[in-house]
Each structure stands twice: as structure tokens, then as C-alpha cells.
């Protein structure tokens, strides 16, 4: 039974220029303790999917339809139907489903100490008193391998480096032992060497805390390292869904194939092969397959009809007319 199942999620933005269908019928599921990578270019709707799950989509954005089914110890709750500011949603947010954000430099309140900010979550959800919360916060900082955690807890965000802050963010997200962690580009803003350290840390912690992880990234390398399953997203829709090895070794969708070809490689003689063209205008999407204008293998049907996600091989789902 999946821990979280997103079904046909549609989150639109109602702007003055028109309706932007940023997430438009996106589905996936994640099992407990698994790691799912959501891959796509910036602007394809992956971050918005994360915010939709947590009920944090703000005006003029809105969840229009779909279900976000969360398995709360055997009881299925549709998160998209909860009042986003209500008690139930807030008791899940940060407690059972936690999120790690992209930008460690701006993700923390600059006027409170690192310790205070971790304690705030603990006091809120675990009903600890200040002393216990502090002890636990320091423990968490030690877990994420921050040196001198007692001292660091008393420091302010600006006194920590980017890598240290991201570790502190991870400590904060894991502090209530969530069943699901959504990590939105957790390493993108970091230096390459720090990226590797933070990634290693996440792999360690994943084994220890046994949280399921939804890893949102455009970095295929990160996905290969940490995820079990992958969903490839293109302009608000899932185009391919399978295990990491399937997607990496036998990508089916032309977009996924293009992504794989555009990974720089030292051994490949021909250099990079980018995907031609640009992402379509969000207000003026193609009527058929959204990838059709850029697709090297586009056919007549692709122009008029949108393909559906179909299982073309065991546990390998693709939405493309090539496999009909």
C-alpha cells in the first residue's frame, strides 16, 4: 500500500494573462521507505507538486482537481481536500511530511538561532518542553554531522556556511521523524564538493530514519545515486515512470532519451546533444502531446491527441504514441 498516492493532480495559476496549467494531471505513488525521484526542467511543475502535497500553494495558484492520498497509519486522507490552514493539515506538515528547500541561504529566519528554529518544530509537534527540545535539536545537529553542535545551536543562520545550513535544514526536517521527506533540489545551490557530502549524508540518514523521500531535481546524477524509482515530468505531466535502472538504461520516451543524451560524458566523442527547441509557452500549450514540437520522432497523431501514461513493460510507464 503506497504511503502517498497522487492522482491526476491539477494545480493551476489564475493570472491576468490567463490560466497557467502548471501541474496538469500528474500522477505518481511512493511506497514507505522508498525514494522517488521527480526529474524535469525548471518550470515543469515539480516544485509546485511538492507545495501542493503540503497545501502550501498560494494565490493565484490553486489545486483544481485530483487527489493526494496520504496513508496516515492505515487511514487514508486526501490532503488536497483538507483546509490548508487547518489543524489537521498543520499537524501533518513538518511532522509527518517535512520539506527541505533549495536555497539554504534564505531558507532560515535570520533573526532566530539555528537551535531555536529546530526547537520550534519539536515544541510544536512533539510537545517537548524547552529543555528536552534543545537536547533533541543538538542531537539532530550531531546526526547531520555538524561539528560542535552545542555551540552551533546558539548561532544564527548567517554564521553558518551554505553546506552547514543545508545540514541544519535537513536536521530540522528530520527532527520529528517524518514518514515522508520532500527534498526540493536539496543540493542544487551548493558547491560541487559540498553537494557530494550532503548527498552522502542523505543516503546515510535515509537508512537510519527510514523516511520515504521524494527527491525533486533536474540533476540526473543525484537521482541515480539515491532514488529507487523515477518519474520524468514535462510541462506539468508525467511522461515516463519506472525504476532508476529502467529509466537510465532503457529510456522509452523521446524526452527522457533526450535528457540522457544531454548528460555530459568524458567518453562520448561527439560532445553534448541538447534537446532542440524550447519549453512551450505555459499559456499556449500544444493541443496534443506537449513534447511534440521538440520531438524528433513526432507523428501526425502527436499534434492532435495527448497520449496517456501506459505500462509498456513491467513497471515501466510511458506516455507516448510510439508505444501504442
Amino acid at each position: 500500500m503506497p504511503l502517498l498516492e497522487v492522482k491526476e493532480l491539477r494545480t493551476y495559476f489564475y493570472t491576468e494573462a490567463g490560466i497557467v496549467r502548471a501541474v496538469d494531471g500528474f500522477s505518481f505513488a511512493i511506497e514507505p521507505e522508498q525514494t522517488l525521484g521527480i526529474v524535469g526542467e525548471s518550470g515543469c511543475g515539480k516544485s509546485l507538486t511538492a507545495l501542493s502535497i503540503l497545501g502550501l500553494v498560494s494565490r493565484p495558484g490553486k489545486i483544481v482537481s485530483g487527489e493526494i492520498l496520504y496513508n496516515r497509519q492505515g487511514k487514508i486522507i486526501d490532503l488536497s481536500k483538507l483546509n490548508p490552514k487547518g489543524k489537521q493539515m498543520r499537524s501533518i506538515r513538518g511532522n509527518e511530511i517535512a520539506m527541505i528547500f533549495q536555497e539554504p541561504m534564505t531558507s532560515m529566519d535570520p533573526v532566530y538561532t539555528i537551535g531555536d528554529q529546530i526547537m520550534e518544530t519539536l515544541i510544536l509537534h512533539q510537545h517537548l518542553d524547552k529543555k528536552q527540545a534543545r537536547k533533541r535539536a543538538i542531537e539532530m545537529l550531531r546526526e547531520v554531522k555538524i561539528p560542535l553542535p552545542e555551540q552551533r545551536a546558539n548561532e544564527y543562520p548567517h554564521q553558518l556556511s551554505g553546506g552547514m545550513r543545508q545540514r541544519a535544514m535537513i536536521a530540522m526536517a528530520l527532527s520529528c521523524n517524518p514518514s515522508l521527506v520532500i527534498a526540493d533540489e536539496p543540493t542544487t545551490a551548493l558547491d560541487v564538493t559540498i553537494q557530494a557530502q550532503v548527498l552522502d549524508l542523505m543516503i546515510d540518514l535515509k537508512a537510519e530514519f527510514r523516511s520515504a523521500i521524494i527527491l525533486i531535481t533536474h540533476d540526473l546524477g543525484v537521482v541515480a545515486e539515491i532514488a529507487n524509482e523515477v518519474v520524468v515530468m514535462y510541462v506539468g505531466k508525467g511522461v515516463e515512470k519506472s525504476t532508476v535502472s529502467n529509466v537510465f538504461h532503457s529510456p522509452k520516451h523521446p524526452y527522457t532519451q533526450g535528457l540522457m543524451d544531454s548528460i555530459p560524458s568524458i567518453t562520448a566523442p561527439s560532445g553534448l546533444r541538447p534537446i532542440e527547441g524550447v519549453v512551450p509557452d505555459a499559456l499556449n500549450l500544444p493541443p496534443g502531446c506537449r513534447f511534440e514540437p521538440r520531438c524528433p520522432r513526432a507523428m501526425k497523431t502527436c499534434k492532435t491527441d495527448a497520449p496517456l501514461l501506459k505500462e509498456v513493460a513491467p513497471n515501466h510507464w510511458v506516455s507516448c504514441w510510439l508505444y501504442e
Partner: protein
């Protein structure tokens, strides 16, 4: 930090020295002979000469300046029109001004904080638009008009409040009476008299501070940490007040402290309209009477306040924002 305080204190002294030069110089640059003015249109030349000598107006500028600074530091500056030490006159009037200022600022703090915060959170709603309109109204309305209107409506027509004056006791006396003798009447009477002038004075501050809070809060609304706080499951109220408002406080404190010092210097117009016996009224009278020593003492006295409050506010910044270090 302590090195900073020492350095700032030295600057403060230099500032005050500059103030004495300006206070002394400006009044001496002003046309008109104070001796002639004091004695009126029927004064004789001899009389004027005698008074000039008495006031030491016939001595060279530098000698007079040195004498002025000497008297200032010894607290010896004599008011010409009251024939009393200038500082004791100021101290006598100061409590009434403080009462009015503190009351006006308290009203302003409560109103502008709630309005400013709600305006920012509910921006572009009917509430926000009406709050903006009211702030503009508060800023642009002259004190003398608002004060007069309040007197007309609440004192003359409705007879809810007295139109004029301070009432028999000061705030501290009223509190002492209340605690020692259980005298509630004087306590009520005090606030009864305070209400209209304080309200008049607060209108402008409310307008200014509400706008500053709104703008400053709006700067926080789209910051990423706000989304992070929400993702932690915090209630919106906590996110707004504990975090966003706290982060937006620096400009608010700056403006608020400036308004505070400005009002301490005497709400000249409001004190005049309501016959409030504060320093503002004293200064107006002193200027009209060409009572130079009293005016000069006033200028130095309030400059001292300004400098001290500014220093305190700068120190307060380090508590409000840990990124600020001196």
C-alpha cells in the same frame, strides 16, 4: 560593542557642541534687538542701553558664546521673561509633554501595528485599501484642524471630554493618589483630559507608522523562509507575528523612535490648541518673548534627548537583527 558605545558617546558630545554653536549663532543672526523688544515701544535709549549691558549683549560674540556654554553646563541659564533658571522651567513642563507623547505613541503603536500587519497580510483587499486611505488622511490632516474638530465634536457637542487644559494632577500624582488613598476620581480625570490631545497627536504617527509597517512586512511576504516556516506546520499567526513582523521591525523602530523624539520636543500645535502646559507651549511663548536663553536651553535639552535616543536605537538594532554588529 563597548568600544562602539565609547566612540558614539564622543560623537554625541561633539554633536552637542555643534548644537550649542547653532543655538547660539542662529538667535544672534536673527534681526531685531532683544533689549528693544523686551522693553516695548516706549523704551528710552538709555533704558535699552542699560538692558543691553545687563544681558551682556554689548560684549563680543566669542566672549558671549563662552559665557553661554559655561552657564549651560552649570545649569545657570536664566530665562529673561520668567526671571527663573531656564532648565528648571523646562523640567517643570517636561512631565506634561512626556505624558502626552507616551500616550500618543501608545495609541499609535497599538493601532498602527494591528492595521499595518493586517494590511500586509490581506493586501489589495478592502481592508488594505481603507487602511491606506485612513493613513493618508492621518498624515495629511493638520493637527490644529483635527484638534479643533475633536474639541468641537467631543467637547462642545457631545460634552464627553474637556475641551482644554491638563486637569489638576499629573500622571505620577494620580497614580500615587490612587495607590495610597484609593482616589479613583483624579485618576479618571487625568485620562479624561489626556484623551483628546493624545488622540490628535497620534493621528499623524499612526498614518506614518502604519505605512512603514505595511511596506516592511510586504518585503518579508515573499521571502523563502516564510514558506519554510509554513512547511514546518506553524500556524499562520505565528509565522506572521513571531517571524515576519520580527524581521520587519528595523525600519519600524527607526521611524517610531524619530517620532518619539519629535514629539518630546514639544507638540507645539497640539499643546497650543489644547492649552496643554508642556514644553512646546513654553517654547512658543519663549520665542514670542525673545527669551533667548530659554530657547537656547530648550534646543540643547532636546538635542541631548535626540542624541541619546538615537544611540539607544542603534544598540537596539543589534538585538533586533543579529546580523548587525558594531
Amino acid at each position: 560593542m563597548s568600544a562602539y558605545i565609547v566612540r558614539r558617546s564622543i560623537y554625541a558630545l561633539l554633536t552637542l557642541l555643534g548644537v550649542t554653536i547653532v543655538a547660539f549663532g542662529l538667535l544672534n543672526l536673527q534681526p531685531g534687538d532683544p533689549a528693544a523688544l523686551l522693553l516695548g515701544p516706549f523704551a528710552t535709549d538709555q533704558g535699552i542701553q542699560a538692558l543691553r549691558k545687563e544681558l551682556r549683549l554689548d560684549e563680543p560674540l566669542l566672549t558671549r558664546y563662552i559665557a553661554f556654554v559655561g552657564n549651560l553646563f552649570r545649569g545657570n541659564l536664566q530665562s529673561i521673561s520668567f526671571k527663573q533658571p531656564a532648565f528648571s522651567l523646562l523640567f517643570e513642563r517636561f512631565p506634561a509633554t512626556v505624558e502626552l507623547t507616551v500616550a500618543a505613541l501608545l495609541i499609535a503603536a497599538i493601532v498602527s501595528m494591528s492595521t499595518g500587519i493586517i494590511s500586509a497580510v490581506k493586501r489589495d483587499t478592502a481592508f488594505d485599501y481603507s487602511a491606506s486611505a485612513l493613513s493618508l488622511f492621518g498624515i495629511s490632516m493638520p493637527d490644529f484642524w483635527l484638534g479643533t474638530m475633536l474639541i468641537l465634536v467631543f467637547a462642545v457637542f457631545l460634552r464627553w471630554f474637556p475641551a482644554f487644559g491638563h486637569g489638576p494632577v499629573s500622571f505620577s500624582q494620580a497614580v500615587i493618589l490612587l495607590v495610597t488613598k484609593g482616589d479613583f476620581q483624579n485618576f479618571v480625570k487625568f485620562f479624561h483630559h489626556l484623551s483628546l490631545p493624545a488622540l490628535t497627536l497620534s493621528a499623524h504617527v499612526i498614518g506614518v507608522v502604519t505605512r512603514v509597517i505595511r511596506t516592511s512586512m510586504l518585503e518579508e511576504v515573499n521571502k523563502e523562509y516564510v514558506m519554510v516556516l509554513r512547511s514546518k506546520g506553524l500556524a499562520e499567526r505565528t509565522v506572521v507575528i513571531k517571524h515576519m513582523f520580527r524581521n520587519s521591525l528595523i525600519p519600524v523602530v527607526t521611524i517610531f523612535s524619530m517620532e518619539f523624539v519629535k514629539l518630546l520636543g514639544g507638540a507645539v500645535i497640539v499643546e497650543t490648541v489644547f492649552g496643554w502646559p508642556g514644553v512646546g507651549l513654553l517654547m512658543v511663548n519663549a520665542i514670542n518673548a525673545r527669551d533667548y536663553p530659554l530657547v537656547q536651553a530648550g534646543i540643547v535639552f532636546f538635542s541631548l534627548f535626540f542624541v541619546v535616543v538615537n544611540l539607544l536605537v542603534d544598540l537596539l538594532y543589534t538585538f533586533l537583527d543579529p546580523r548587525i554588529r558594531y
